[in-house]
């Protein structure tokens, strides 16, 4: 009877899950604590007096919404750019002999394996020559360095899975290649496009290093930089920090629910590094 419910397995998995999730529980807990309780000894797991003051202060007194807006802008533009450029390229790599060579695919994979710091340093030097440092466009282009190879790599797999017969039939009917791609192939591959787009969005949303290197002015900072300011300044503000953490994590978790089906595929090509 007990074996049917796998009690033995559950008895191991449940405690491990609680341990692994504890930091997240702790984030929520601290975000709901008042100024004094954040630093209280002993630390309380469930806030004695739960307050929303951290969230209110975060939105009213800091640039948090500005950071969110910046991140939204940069992430959206990165997604659009890398999908627009990456999908046709992935299709070409999946379908045409000219580009289906191992050399081309290795090159894409290789471009994805460069140490980010190795790209960040020259990009800063090059961008400062053409006035792209401390600009949205500069950061969007920097994020494209990881987003585009990701889209190409992931979408290539999707296009390979689309049956060629449909396309051949359309061609026989006199459909042009471009129309074929736009009207027949893209709709079939739409789940893949959506998944690749969401993963790309998350990659950009989570980036810290490129934003750290390229952005200077307060008004352009993205969330990961903005949020670290609550800790790096002389005063530590755990409440603000954790409230911000909750607010920037929730959209990511919601987005992941939509791409759950593609999680293995996406992660295998590095949806999150």
């Amino acid at each position: 009877m007990t074996n049917r419910y796998g009690i033995g397995t559950l008895a191991i998995v449940a405690p491990v899950a609680i341990l692994m999730l504890f930091p997240l529980i702790w984030i929520v807990s601290v975000s709901l604590k008042g100024d004094a309780e954040q630093f209280a000894t002993p630390p309380t797991l469930i806030p004695l007096v739960p307050v929303l003051s951290n969230y209110v202060r975060l939105i009213a007194e800091t640039n948090f919404l500005r950071y969110i807006g910046n991140s939204l802008l940069v992430a959206t533009a990165t997604v659009v750019l890398s999908l627009l450029a990456g999908c046709p390229a992935a299709y070409a790599m999946a379908r045409f002999k000219t580009l289906a060579r191992p050399g081309v695919t290795s090159l894409v994979l290789l471009s994805y394996m460069f140490p980010p710091i190795l790209i960040g340093i020259p990009l800063f030097v090059i961008f400062s020559k053409v006035g792209l440092t401390d600009s949205y466009l500069g950061l969007i282009l920097a994020h494209t360095t990881f987003a585009l190879p990701f889209v190409m790599w992931m979408m290539r797999d999707f296009f390979l899975a689309v049956p060629v017969e449909v396309e051949e039939a359309a061609l026989v009917d006199g459909c042009s290649r471009l129309r074929l791609l736009w009207i027949i192939v893209m709709p079939i591959a739409r789940p893949g496009v959506v998944a690749a787009g969401i993963f790309t969005f998350i990659l950009s949303w989570n980036d810290y290093m490129y934003a750290l290197i390229l952005l200077k002015s307060e008004s352009r900072k993205t969330i990961s930089i903005g949020i670290s300011l609550f800790v790096d300044s002389s005063t530590i503000e755990p409440g603000l920090m954790m409230a911000g953490s909750v607010l920037i994590t929730v959209p990511v978790l919601i987005a992941f629910i939509f791409v759950q089906r593609f999680l293995v595929q996406g992660l295998a090509v590095g949806a999150v590094k």
Binding site: G6, I7, T9, V13, V16, M20, P23, W26, V30, P42, P43, L81, L84, A85, A89, A92, M93, R95, F96, K97, T98, P102, T105, V108, S111, F114, P115, P116, I117, L118, I121, P122, F124, V125, I126, L148, P149, V164, E167, E168, R177, N206, Y208, M209, L212, I213, I223, S224, I227, S228, V231, P238, M241, S245, T249, L253, L263, V264, V272, K273
Partner: protein, 310 residues
Amino acid sequence: MRAAPPSMKPPASAGTGRIEARVRRFALACFAPSLVLVVGLIFYPFLYTVMLSFQRRQLFEKSGSFIGVENYAKLLASAEFWTSLVNGLVFSGGSLFLQVVLGVALAVLLNRSFTGRGFFRGLLLFPYLIPSVVGIFAIRWMLNDLYGIVNYWLMALGVVKQALPWFGQPQLAMASLIAINTWMFYPFVMLCVLARLQSIPPDLYEAARMDGAGEWAQFWHVTLPQLRGTLAVVVIVRTMWMFNKFDTVWLTTQGGPFSSTQTLPVLAYVEAFSLYEIGRASAIGILMSAILLAVFVLYQRLFLKIQKWQ
């Protein structure tokens, strides 16, 4: 890398040569925008770094002076470089080992049937899904030496007498960083292994049971050999990403105390943006990619092998 995809044949009646030329033009047109971006944003900057690495140059200078391989020679002769390399190997090796052990163990558990399996599968992915800045700061606050809950509990349980300086003492700091990485990235291993476990044919286990193999023997003689290919790839990919990991270190110790957690990406960042030695920083980047290139070649070999097995 993979078997060549089926290429589309043009309709039989048409003049094949002209159509093929048109098809090729279309293929190249599809590929061109990405090619421009990849070359302009990745390969050109890479070559630019190669050039910078042979120069003595300050970050905001318009041009530098060519000094040959001096940057490389100085780096390879400096203790700092080798310390950072060794730190990086400890950091990535340690996190990798623990990630794989934890990831495989959890995948095997989550592959058994028990109540709430789907729920726990989702839940155990969470640490991987949160932005790394969030995860890092959460752990940092938990490990705070004055107000951290971890020190409080350890003292309350009598495990330690004094609050531990989690990021303040060399060995402890490295251990803390490895713990953060393990926590954030075990789900990657778990997910990949779980996907593979589900495709192991059940009759392999049946055969093993008929031969009288217990659960442990089944894991050792059936599961692990089947996982070999997946693990090989997972290990290489994760090695590269851990080796390049910048934020875990930068947002906690910034390489300290006494450079005990300084890894190559952090060293390169400091050289470039704190000391403005862009030439030296570039040389570090090039050396890093040389190391990774070796890993990449290995990865490709493994990939090909695995393709052949499947």
